[in-house]
């Protein structure tokens, strides 16, 4: 592992048997849970540390975790639930998978601390169905934790009880949305719920529920150990802590890199070995396809944090960086992404159900050589009509690539429509690249 990484959530990576309880205990695991629970540290103190840490939801929305925790009702007559979202289905996102397969116990400890803090009796970790072997690793870790007395009834003899279970998705991107995920836990279709009410008041089985991303929970033990301030100081203002970036696409060494927030894009790209095959960087989707694509010129000087990417015209998302080199045809890439959102729309809201198919069909028609120049305005218009008009963010997510691809690579689309062929495949990659650089000069 590169020296410039900061291993908070992936701290067992590189150890023998990284997922085992023994390894985690060797690194001081579960000490924070035990300390907080046995010393009966007040929930308000824990929440204030989490607030101080600047930890923001690592699933993509970036909502301050401490603030979210404070929404959970303190007094409630009945079971409160804790849910972890390990349903990574946003293309380019694969960080949580490494947490559950290499460092499951830190997640369990983080969830147990959250459960203690929020008074949750039962927790579920909802895991993407496609990574079955990793699901089984996590199930095994749960067994170990139960056997060792870190989960279950009356933990450490304090009367605090917390049961945690692994549950799985089975092929639906939408379940990464927290209320769709809750529906799925309840054994229903993953159709997002209208909010309000939010899960904090009406979540799993209609009970108060706190939902966080895997990486968020996994950060908690470190924050408890080192203090909120220390975590905040790992990062930059407004973006506290370390962050795992999942880097995929045209880089030499794709994979997860846990680094401090605010790392310059260029450094992060270098960490992943740079653009592969010695090629030029063309574009980057910095946080998964629901974040806007950025041409090389727009991202090359950016820092990787919430504000930095916002300034560059996109957002951090889940830190899922998809790198595209000069040979990438943006029209065909958009076609694939549009197909994805068309395929994954849950079908509940009219604009998304009808609009994603419309977008895909028009783009496909362009790729099939039947495009019309007015299609680009139509695509923009249809995308804008979906955006902001659906129950969940999938509508916006489906619109974002269309809007940003056309915005930044319009000449490539126009070329495709005029010639019925890809500009890049016609050997005009350099021309395409040059146009972008002019635009961002």
């Amino acid at each position: 592992m590169s020296a410039t990484q900061t291993l908070v959530c992936l701290r067992t990576v590189g150890q023998d048997n990284p997922a085992s309880l023994a390894t985690y205990l060797k690194l001081g695991g579960y000490a924070q849970l035990q300390k907080l629970v046995t010393e009966k540290v007040k929930a308000t103190e824990i929440i204030s540390q989490v607030k101080l840490s600047g930890l923001r939801g690592r699933g993509g929305a970036g909502f301050p975790t401490g603030l979210k925790w404070s929404f959970m009702p303190r007094y409630f007559d009945g079971t409160k639930y804790l849910v972890c979202n390990t349903d990574e289905g946003e293309p380019g996102t694969f960080k949580d998978r490494d947490i559950i397969r290499y460092n499951p116990h830190q997640l369990i400890e983080g969830m147990a601390i959250a459960a203690y803090t929020l008074g949750a009796r039962v927790g579920y970790n909802y895991i993407h169905g496609e990574i079955w072997q990793d699901y089984e690793i996590f199930e095994a870790a749960l067994e170990e934790a139960r056997a060792a007395g870190f989960l279950g009834e009356n933990l450490f003899g304090t009367g605090f009880s917390f049961d945690l279970y692994a549950v799985h998705g089975y092929g639906a991107y939408i379940c990464g949305e927290e209320t769709a995920l809750i529906e799925s836990i309840e054994g229903k279709k993953g159709q997002p719920r209208f909010k309000p009410p939010f899960p904090a008041s009406y979540g799993v089985f209609g009970k108060p529920t706190n939902v966080n991303n895997t990486e968020s929970y996994t950060s908690i033990p470190w924050i408890m150990e080192h203090g909120g301030q220390a975590f905040q100081e790992l990062g930059v203002a407004n973006s506290g802590g370390s962050k795992i970036f999942s880097i995929s696409g045209h880089v030499d060494k794709p994979g997860n890199y846990e680094v401090n927030m605010g790392i310059p894009f260029a450094e992060l790209l270098a960490l992943a070995g740079g653009v592969w095959k010695g090629r030029q960087l063309k574009a980057v989707i910095p946080g998964g396809p629901s974040t806007a694509v950025l041409p090389a010129a727009a991202i090359i000087g950016a820092t990787m944090d919430y504000d930095g990417l916002s300034k560059a015209g996109s957002s951090l998302g889940a830190g899922s960086m998809i790198v595209m080199d000069e040979t990438t045809c943006m029209v065909k890439t958009l076609k694939r992404l549009s197909y994805f959102f068309f395929e994954e729309s849950c079908g509940q809201c009219t604009p998304c159900r009808e609009g994603t198919g419309w977008l895909y069909r028009v783009i496909k028609r362009i790729v099939d050589g039947q495009g019309r120049l007015e299609d680009l305005d139509l695509l923009t218009d249809v995308s804008s009509n979906i955006s902001g008009r659906t129950i969940c963010a999938l509508g916006d997510a489906a619109a974002t690539p269309v809007l940003s691809f056309i915005k930044h690579f319009r000449p490539e689309f126009e070329y495709y429509i005029r010639h019925g062929r890809s500009m890049v495949e016609d050997g005009l990659a350099a021309q395409s690249q040059a146009q972008q650089e002019v635009a961002y000069a």
């Binding site: 169905g129 496609e130 639906a172 836990i185 993953g190 999942s246 880097i247 995929s248």
Partner: protein, 159 residues
Amino acid sequence: MSLSTESQAKIDRELTKYPPEHRQAAVMSALRIAQTEKGWLSKETIAEVADYLGIPAIAALEVATFYNMYELEPVGKYKITVCTNISCMLRDSAEIVTHLEKKLGIGFNETTADGQFTLKEGECMGCCGGAPLFHINNTQMHEYLTPEKVDQILEGLDK
């Protein structure tokens, strides 16, 4: 016809994860368990799972048809689901697909005549660092694929 006692025991274990009045919650697992036993989910199997959980059959059908890892038609002994989403596409999943199509003589959503293989196109599996990739029978993930590696994997399977 009906689910094996092993499968029922597995479903019972899943049921312990939820409050007793919320048996429907186990339907995702129960359908997976039934599919693992039967290879695919016939309407009878779905109805049986619904019955076992005490929920309306249509509620189970809604779930079975919503999540795309459930198979509602018979599939081959080995179902190969290749991700073609953006990260895999950028690392030439198309080459893997073409190789598989040529090797098996089938396209997506087809099954070889001998009933051994079914090819499926998958959406993002959350392992994009290992692109290109596929999984077999929803359980075994194979990453960093090359045509040669694909050959090795297929040869290693029990025929």
